[in-house]
Symmetry: C2
Subunit: 473 residues, 2 copies
């Protein structure tokens, strides 16, 4: 039975939540999940369910779901696998709208586990309930503070509000990514770990996020898709509005084999995925870092109109490395117009090489960056700029951050920034990110992020041309 | 004139240093360089040279090098390019053993600059002095605290004592790398930025570091070599004792062009470099992160005997990603022996998949890691292990760090570690590094570091076989 997208809303905006398996023992997943909902930022009602306890953290405990006197939007189930089907029956009887089954011990195991999973499918088949899991860590919504992650917050920090949403087939990896994002000050809208997909899969989530107003970019970790044809179909539509980045793991034979014992499903051929992703305009991440590197660029920068990129630096070595990386990818070094070259020659010291990459040299100050950056962004031969700053150099003031942000705003062309180094440079990276600039620790990462803006721009352009050809026929 | 390696010692262990261009103005390079030598950790004498000042920071100032009443080992020159040749003449007259010319405005520029550089060459040709630079930032020795870097320490942190030495053609990039290393707690033995190579080049430095007792691994950033044939010749000899890792920038046509305006020299063909590096057993880094990622592995782990690697994780997704990355490279997934599989089946819960990658699952505790890690390291089919830990999971205690370190010590097989995430995971990464384990933030980095141990091991083995064949002939 297909159910509308609105049916997924209780996973992120529940008015009343019950945690089955809530416990007073702090090491139990049910304890962590229950106490997450006690944060004042969560505005809904919360009910602990446990037949052996009268109250937890001062909140009255109910023996079963059926005993709760009010309606429940979302039930989180963190009890042993063998009792999950009983709990699910109670949920259906109670008219619960949505359930997240955290428990493992289902389809990812052979024999008994597979049987249990089929039993769940049978129970929910004709019921009016949506189910995430089993074998997952559920959802996190930074705006409503709906948080079903069973990790203590001192171990796994929660990211602040932001505009990236993250769909992950792997719970443990997904959680660790959130923790990393929080440490980098990167904001999140919604997170979901969807596990064994007894009901909700990545396609349902993509469709839900398509119309989510706080989601600007969608990133996905998957080992296999629920339905390749449908994924491509809806991705084609969604990427017109917001970019989709997918890290598809299990892309080698050995990796696919490992994936099959991880989630119990079989990964498809990598070549098929690659072709399909290209066709649908899905951006592919090859390694973990790229997921957020690309998302940061896409959620703050406009796509590049073409692939002619200028590089600006105060350290020659960085310029050389970025150039190497750029021309190896789907980009070209922009040829500055004679007018730009004249302007730069006139305004910059003679030792500055005014060819692209522009090395402003080690004594470049904020003003030299301003002159050069404005000149190249004004140039019609330039579609985007990679700006690299060695903040270690004494001549450079932190104010260069404002210069870059203002030029980005004024000219609207995409910029990616590299601030290489530790301590002071790291602080500057964080400020740049707060100002909405995608900032990276190494030249290659800044270059790859620009490539992703070029490829997304290129995809949108191809689409548009195809449409206009159809219209003019 | 070829001079012996001992002649380079004053660059790192000078007993008396003079700074020409020392200044009271804190923004001047000469000021920062001079005050670096006032740190109590520097045990030599220090003389500021400036004809316009009587004293700086309470230290008597001399008008010229010739006026200093005692012998000088090392002179650091931070004055405008046009006066450098005069200072160099004074150095020669005084019998100074070594000079570092920080100043730019030489061969990296056309016309006048090139002429000035030739003049310097002429002055030092028959003199008994060694010269680093011009257009460089000089040297840093963590042990003697010889520090000619003109960057304030709050901008560019200095790394602690360690066993990696770093030779960089680019000063600004080299400095930023030190800053990054310091932020990661990574130790350094010696650093040198050698600039335009009027005398000392990367080959001299490699030969010096070959017999440096505190250097275990040498890393190099270069845009072009002073002498390709000689580089390969001496590298072949050195890598028998310590590994050399080179990041060769300017490897594309556009990058080489950028390099030529950076340092004024022409980069050679990339294919030639690649072949030569392979032949000499030099490990090549392709991106900035790899330089230290590889160095960390090589300075703490023994090279792998063969390429059969086992992967251990408590997060299935990480296992899948690491497997993908591993089989794409020069490695194979180790096939665990029947005995190991039996032992693991017996000692671990039934839901643990005992095939490689071994997913200990989310509730794995320290003891489960201990059992699995010892079993696989004992297995003769396993040449090395990649151990991944999601420290976010509540069941894992920080004590797992000791388990990994002890197993590494006990079995002697190489290990690389991945601890993914922010905050808590980052602290655990630092502890792992302090315990001598190469630890990385993402699966792909841990896998690439292992590959580098496999390749170095493979190179040494090939060499050994060739020798034994020669001997038995």
């Amino acid at each position: 039975m297909r159910k509308g997208n609105a049916s997924l809303k209780p996973f992120f905006e529940p008015r009343a939540v019950a945690v089955v398996g809530a416990s007073r023992k702090s090491y139990k997943p049910g304890h962590v999940i229950f106490t997450n909902f006690l944060q004042p930022e969560f505005k809904g009602k919360i009910y602990p369910i446990n037949p052996k306890t009268k109250q937890i953290a001062g909140v009255k405990c109910y023996p079963t779901i059926g005993d709760v006197p009010e309606d429940i939007d979302l039930v989180i189930i963190a009890v042993p696998a063998r009792v999950v089907s009983q709990v699910m029956r109670e949920c259906v009887d109670k008219g619960v709208k949505a359930a997240i089954i955290i428990s493992g011990g289902f389809g990812e195991m052979k024999g008994e586990g597979k049987k249990r999973e089929n039993e769940i499918r049978e129970i929910i088949k004709d019921a009016n309930i949506r189910v995430i899991g089993p074998n997952c860590i559920g959802t996190y919504d930074a705006y409503t503070q709906t948080d079903t992650l069973f990790y203590p917050r001192h171990r796994l920090a929660r990211p602040p509000k932001g505009s990236i949403s993250f769909i992950s087939q792997s719970g443990a990896y997904g959680g660790a990514v959130l923790d990393w994002a929080a440490s980098q000050g990167i904001g999140i809208s919604k997170f979901v770990s969807y596990g064994n997909m007894v009901d909700v899969n990545e396609i349902d989530m993509l469709e839900y996020l398509e119309s989510d107003p706080t989601t600007r970019v969608i990133i996905v970790y998957m080992e296999q898709t629920a339905n390749g044809r449908r994924l491509i179909e809806i991705a084609k539509r969604i990427v017109q509005k917001k970019p989709i980045i997918i890290l598809k793991a299990g892309s080698t034979v050995a990796g696919a084999h490992a994936a099959s014992s991880h989630t119990g499903a079989l990964a498809g051929s990598d070549a098929a995925y690659r072709a399909a992703f290209n066709q649908a305009g899905i951006i592919r991440a090859n390694i973990s870092d790229e997921l957020f590197d690309f998302a940061l660029a896409l959620c703050s920068q406009s796509p590049a109109k073409n692939n002619r990129i200028a590089i600006l630096t105060n350290g020659g070595g960085l310029g050389v490395m970025a150039t190497d990386e750029l021309v190896r990818r789907e980009m070209r070094m922009a040829e500055l117009s004679p007018r730009t070259i004249r302007a730069l020659r006139q305004k910059l010291p003679s030792r500055v090489s005014v060819a692209n990459p522009i090395d402003l040299t080690g004594d470049a100050d904020t003003n030299r960056y301003k002159i050069a950056l404005e000149s190249i962004l004004r140039d019609r031969n330039v579609d985007g700029a990679i700006v690299m700053v060695l903040f270690q150099l004494p001549a450079i003031e932190p104010g260069v951050v404002d210069v870059i942000a203002e030029a980005n705003e004024k000219y609207g062309k995409p910029i990616t920034v590299c601030a290489f180094g530790g301590g002071f440079a790291e602080s500057c990276r964080k400020i740049l990110k707060l100002k909405g600039l995608p900032c990276y620790s190494t030249p290659d990462r800044a270059v790859k992020a620009m490539e992703c803006l070029v490829r997304y721009g290129n995809y949108l352009k191809r689409k548009k041309n195809r449409w206009s050809r159809l219209i003019h026929r």
